[in-house]
Every structure is written in structure tokens, then in C-alpha cells.
Amino acid sequence: MNRFAELLDRLVLTPSRNGKLTLLRDYFHSVEDPDRGLALAAITGDLNIAAVKPAMLRALVVERMDPVLFGYSYDYVGDLAETVSLVWPQPQGHIPNQVPTLAEVVGKLQAASRSDGPKVLARLLDDASISARFAIIKLVTGGLRIGVSARLAKQALADLGKVDIAEIEELWHGLAPPYTELFAWLEGRAEKPRSAALALFRPVMLSNAVDDGDLEKLEPADYAAEWKWDGIRVQAVCEGGVRRLYSRTGDDVSGAFPDLAAAMTFEAALDGELLVGDPREATGTFSDLQQRLNRKSVSPKIQQQYPAFMRCYDALQINGEDLRALPFAERRKHLEAFVKTLDPGRFDLSPLVAFTDWETLERLRQAPPHPIIEGVMLKRWDSPYLAGRPKGPWFKWKRDPHTVDAVLMYAQRGHGKRSSFYSDYTFGVWAGPEGAEELVPVGKAYFGFTDEELREIDKYVRDNTIERFGPVRSVRADRRNGLVLEVAFEGLNRSTRHKSGVAMRFPRISRLRWDKPAAEADRIETLQALLDR
């Protein structure tokens, strides 16, 4: 239990992806079964433990200590799980025989009935160290919040076994905690686990961005073009009555899209884009799509207002036949025929874009017929469906990004290599009537500049600081003084959380405009115009 607790403590404070991977890999390498598999399940959200409510936790602790002292403590720390882990009084004269393992803790919690759950929890806390108590409380209150996605954990497993992450994603839904057979395979002690489970995820094929000079080397006739839809990549798999809608990383998202899942009455594995609207009439914008994202449950009203549908662009399997080895041209024919048999309100075909040369396609790319199109996809007619991101068969050719000239307002210190640099920048544009303009923050970016530029901005921040709040500095920015940043971004969303009413997608610094006076930076109306388009 202590090793798991230590892992959580380290992960939550480690900002870099590589650092997290090292910590995870070392943990999986050094900890034995079944503890490591249970830890993995806790991280990926696949561990089932009956939840304990915060009020119950609080009741347990004030039975054991002065409520006033608990109140002072909680006020100071601000986090219930952490406060309880720190103040929990060990019973007088109680010395645990040994630190419980993660498996013992999970076993006791899973075996506990609803009525004796709190008692079981209290006994576990009595036996645990401070950081183990914190980990136990996190397990029972749900949500570790350690900044590690299921995908990152799978990447660590792939690193451990020196296999491709696609292999792990493909297996994942056929496995269950504590994943003993998975670890045995990764450590070379057993064959790759074979799964009898149905409707498993197939690792998706990804594309590379078109770089300068790429197209000159390519023959237009070798490629099909399609619009690149700015929805969510999904894979719809139905097999023997089992239906699953997966995200591109293999997470099961069926629960968030019950309307689409209900229409999945076929035997196939299809690749496509999840969008909202009715494909026969109109496709919704990204703002519409957002109404369906990041929701645990979705009300009938929202489902009706923003119905989900799938725009299909590839077929991996149809009626039991695996099509992945066929060339794209062949798969496309199967797909076209198959989509005709599906519910037309929930499934349609991503149309091909006819072109003869790159110049024609370039013109089409610059003026797409719908706001949710973010460019074109190029797919080699003769390419099989390959997991991962092979270079050559698929390209994405995105619309040029939007740019805006904004003024630097706040800078925050980075981490790791950048811990002594102010490298995270909040920037704003002008709002308000003429003569009384004010900057409103519109976004935050921490990349897009070179190391040399980073040094220059860092110096600027240090020389022009007007206030400090912990790791954040407020930078002088008014009509006469300020650093103008050209910010590139992919799109804008409406936001009720930001004062400016907009939120940028994928913002990055594209140029430093040392030459431009702050007063000439853009106004909020420029961004608002983009929203209304």
C-alpha cells in the first residue's frame, strides 16, 4: 500500500509526461501481482469499490477527535481527503502487525457491505501510514485526480514490455483487474493473452500533417481526398449482440452517446467521426457538439436537441470479415454499400472530394463548405488499414490557423527544464469603449516559441513585473506598454467561464511582435466575429 501511495504522491506533483512514464514503469516493474494490476485498474478507472460519501468520512473523523481542532485543520488544508489522512488519530497503543497490501485493502473494501463499509474503512485507516491513508480515501471517494490518463498508463505498460501501445489497446477490453496475464506477457513469461470477448477495440490508423514540400513528391492520382471533420474520432463495433462505441484511444464512450449506440444494430467495425445534427438535413457546429462532450449522463432533451450521428469513413470489419488488409479503394466500396443499409438519421458516408491537382484541392481546402470542416484528408488508394501513425498512406492537410495579435498579461513559471523560466503566458485583447479600453484575457499558451525567444520573453517578464502571486507574475500591459504576441489557434468556442466569453482551441505563440505598439493589438470584436460565423 505504501508503494502505491508513494506513486500517487509523486505522480500528482510530476508535470512532465516522461517523468510520469518513468515513475509508472518503475512501479509496474518493481511491484508484484496482484498489487500492480490493482493500481493499474485504479488509475485507468476500472476498479470497482463502493463509494463512501464525504459526509461519512467527516463523521468518522469527528467521532475520534475534537471537532473544533478538526475544523481548524480542514480550514487550513482545504481538502477533506488530505485533512483526514493527516489528522486521523491512531488508536492508543495500536501498532499494526504489518502494512496492508493494496490487494488486502481493495479486498476488504470490495467485500464490505453498505452498512459496515464505514467501519471497515476506519479499521484500514487505523493500520495505515499518512500517505497510505490518503490513497485509501482517494480509492473510496472515487477519482484519484493525479493527472494520469488511462492512455498514459497503457503507454507505460507498452514501455515496460517494449511492445506497441496499439497491441495493449486492442487487448484492453478483454482483460480485467488485476491483469496478471497481461503482466506475464509483458515480462516475457507467457504468450500474449488471447481474448474471447466480443466487440473489442481495434487500434486506429492516424495521419501525418502535410509538411512543406510533401505534396510535390506525391502523385495526386494516388490519393483520395475527403473533408476533415472537426468532430470526435470514434469506432463503432458490434459483434454477436455486443455494441461498443470507442474513442480513438479505446475508451468506451457508449454511455455518453446512448442515442447513437441504440442505432448500432449491425455486425461490423466502422471508423468515422462523431458529429451532431441530422445528416440528412444539417450538421451541427463545434459549439453544438460541445453540448454532448464531457458529460457523464445525458438528458433526453439534450439528446433530442443535439442528436449524435456518425459520419463513416472506413470499414475494418463487416459481417465477420476482417477488411483491414484490403486497399483503401476496396474498403471504400464495402463501406459505401454497407452504410446504405444503416439508419440514415444516425449514419452517413463521408463524401470524397474530387480533384485533379494539388492547386484545385488547395482552393477547396481554403474555402470549405461547412464551418466544422478543418481541412482535407488524403488517403492513398492502395493503403491497407494500419494501426498507429505510419508515414505516407494518410495525410491531414489542415486549414491555416486563425491568428490574433494579443498583449501579454500574466506569465507563470514552468516546470522541469523550464522551472526557472516564465514560460506560460496569459494574453488578452482590448475591450471597452474608445478612451477606456481594457485588456480581457482570451487564452493561455506555453509553446510555439524557440528557446532563444523564451529567454527574451523571460527577460521581458522579469523587467516588467508589476505584481507577483506565487509562481505567477503580472506584467505591465496598458495602451503604451506591453508585449504583443501573435497567437495562432484552431478555432473559438463560446465560454461562460471566461470573462471574454470566448475560449481558444489549441492556442500557441506564432510570432513575437516587438515592433507592434500594445494599443494596436486586436479588439475582442475581431474574435467575436469569428464566433458568429
Binding site: E6, L13, S73, E82, L86, V87, G416, S419, S420
Partner: protein, 336 residues
């Protein structure tokens, strides 16, 4: 005579009217008794100073030899008479030279703890509980959430991380007097025998510790002249916490910032400071040490100063011990 006649809170600090002296005054006074060398307790400019020889030496290093009009060294356990008041210094276990000050007059004995801790520390003498009528305790970590783990477990975490990330350097932020030397000594006790790189702000004090027989092993300046960036791969570097946010830290490869402090018990404190590896190593008593010490002194009355007074006063009430906060100003958290 009442205890409250023996000590009063004044803007300058804790004042003893019959003896006409202050303990750890924050402004220049005629006569100052000083518990230890941290800058919020030991200020320069007093007419006369009574402190342990180590504390006097440390003040000399920090402020220059003329930091006071006259100085007098107090020997631990020996009583000095000041205007008819008996004054004795006893070890406090906080940093090298740190002392509690026991003041006795007309049958009343009051002990001012200064800052103290109870965990073992190879760089200073251990705290001795002194029976008294009134115990004036610090309360920097006077909340039940502050529980310091054994320091060797914390140091083991740095060494584990250094083995896990051999291509990176570990930068340990530690207060220049006491904490830094204790951290270095703990590293040596854990078997770490490579050179430890230090920031210039630590050099004089570390050298002084070494001259007092506290072995810190080989220390090297953390400067560019002593090596290229790659040479610091796997290195452990100790410096004042403020230096790590500064340009100074750029010479180290992809550093992992560590901070040795009792405040690191609280995750949010670590997160806000951008600390990746918090080390809960403190030179102040934690909650358990505070309440054990209060019991051991047998004091009938407790005065609580600098820190979180309210929780400790509440605990004393629950235990039936008279307690009140002494609202002294000018002491900061920076000593940890």
C-alpha cells in the same frame, strides 16, 4: 510576583521588566538575549547581546563582527545573573547553537523555548525539557495536520529519485542556516558519498558547521566553472529555496525541484511552489512534539507565540492547562 510581571509583550519583543532585557527582539534594544541565529530572531544593532558562542559566531558571519555593542557568550546549563534575575540557556534542538532561555525570579520560573524540535538532528544538541511554571512555546506547526515523518525516510526518497532519474539533477531548497546543513548531513548518513553542490549563499555557514566538527563531506560550488551542464546530471544541489526560481538554476539539466520544509506536508503548498519532490524535513516541532513537550515541562500555564496559536490554545483548554496566545509580531515562517 505573578508570571505576567516577569514577562510582557512589547512592540520590540518579549520583555522582562525586573531584568530589563528582551528575548529575540525584532528592533534594536539595550540588552538582548538571543535564542538562535535565524534572522527573524537574531537582528543586528543591539547595545549588548547574550547568546551561545555558536549563535554569536553565526551572527558575526551574517552581519559582520560589529553586529552589537558588546557580546557575552552563554554556556549551556550555567546560570547568569542579570539585575537579580537568574538566566540559564538550555539546548533547543533547532539549529546549531540554538537554546531555550530559562528565567527565574522570586520563585517563578519561565522557559522561553525559542524555536525547537524533538526529532534527532546530528547537527545540533538535542532539546532538553526543563520543568517550569510557564512554558512559552513556539507554534509554527501548531495544527494537528502537521506530522513530520522521520527525516531519514524523506532523504531516502531523494536518493531513490536520483537513481530513477540519473539524467536529471535534484535541486534541494533548504534554508541557509541549519536546514541546509542538516540535509547534507542526512545525505551522508544515508551513505551518499558524491560531492554535494551548494549555492554560494550556503558556503560560509556550511564551512562554519564543518569547523565545529559537523562532517558534511565534500562540498563543491554549484557554479558553471566547476563543470558543464551535463556534468550536473545525477547531481544533488542544495541552495536557498529562492535561488531555484532564479536564473541561477538554469545551469542544471532538467532539474527536479525538491524543497525541504515542514510546510511540504500540505500538497497544495508543494503544488503552488512548483515543487516536484517535497521533503517534509523541519527544524520545528510538529503537532505531536508540541503537545508532548508541553506535558513534559509540567508547566501549569502555556503561552503560545508565533504560529498557529488558536489550535494549541484549544488543545490546552481540553487538557485543563491554562493557555493564552502571546501576540508577538515580526517572526516569519521563513525559518523552515
Amino acid at each position: 510576583m505573578r508570571a505576567s510581571d516577569l514577562f510582557k509583550s512589547r512592540p520590540e519583543g518579549l520583555y522582562c521588566p525586573p531584568g530589563d532585557f528582551f528575548i529575540d527582539p525584532v528592533r534594536p534594544v539595550e540588552r538582548a538575549l538571543i535564542t538562535h541565529g535565524h534572522s527573524d530572531h537574531a537582528r543586528s544593532g543591539h547595545r549588548s547581546v547574550l547568546a551561545t558562542q555558536e549563535t554569536l559566531d553565526i551572527m558575526g558571519l551574517r552581519y559582520g563582527e560589529d553586529f552589537a555593542g558588546t557580546t557575552q557568550a552563554a554556556t549551556l546549563g550555567e546560570t547568569t545573573d542579570i539585575n537579580g534575575v537568574a538566566v540559564t540557556f538550555h539546548p533547543a534542538g533547532h539549529v546549531l547553537g540554538s537554546a531555550q532561555i530559562c528565567v527565574e525570579h522570586r520563585g517563578i520560573r519561565i522557559v522561553a523555548s525559542g524555536d525547537y524540535k524533538r526529532q534527532k538532528d546530528a547537527t545540533c544538541l538535542p532539546f532538553e525539557p526543563i520543568p517550569c511554571d510557564v512554558f512559552i512555546t513556539e507554534a509554527t506547526f501548531g495544527l494537528p495536520v502537521f506530522r513530520h515523518p522521520p527525516d531519514h525516510e524523506e532523504i531516502a526518497r531523494v536518493l531513490k529519485s536520483a537513481a530513477q532519474f540519473p539524467e536529471r539533477s535534484h535541486l534541494i531548497g533548504a534554508y541557509a542556516l541549519g536546514k541546509a546543513q542538516r540535509v547534507m548531513r542526512l545525505l551522508r548518513d544515508a551513505g551518499y558519498d558524491r560531492p554535494i553542490y551548494i549555492h554560494g549563499a550556503l558556503a560560509k555557514l556550511s564551512e562554519y558547521y564543518q569547523s565545529q566538527g559537523i562532517d558534511l563531506g565534500r562540498l563543491e560550488p554549484g557554479t558553471v566553472e566547476s563543470g558543464a551542464k551535463a556534468d550536473f546530471a545525477g547531481a544533488i544541489v542544495v541552495g536557498p529555496p529562492s535561488a531555484f526560481a532564479d536564473r541561477w538554476a538554469r545551469r542544471f539539466p532538467d532539474p527536479i525541484s525538491c524543497f525541504a520544509s515542514g510546510w511540504m506536508r500540505i500538497r497544495q503548498r508543494a503544488k503552488q511552489g512548483g515543487v516536484e519532490l517535497p521533503l517534509i524535513i523541519s527544524d520545528h516541532a510538529d503537532w505531536d512534539e508540541l503537545i508532548i513537550t508541553i506535558k513534559e515541562t509540567g508547566a501549569a500555564e502555556i503561552w503560545v507565540t508565533h504560529g498557529r496559536e488558536e489550535a494549541l490554545v484549544r488543545w490546552c483548554e481540553l487538557e485543563g492547562i491554562a493557555a493564552r496566545p502571546l501576540h508577538l509580531v515580526g517572526y516569519e515562517d521563513e525559518g523552515d
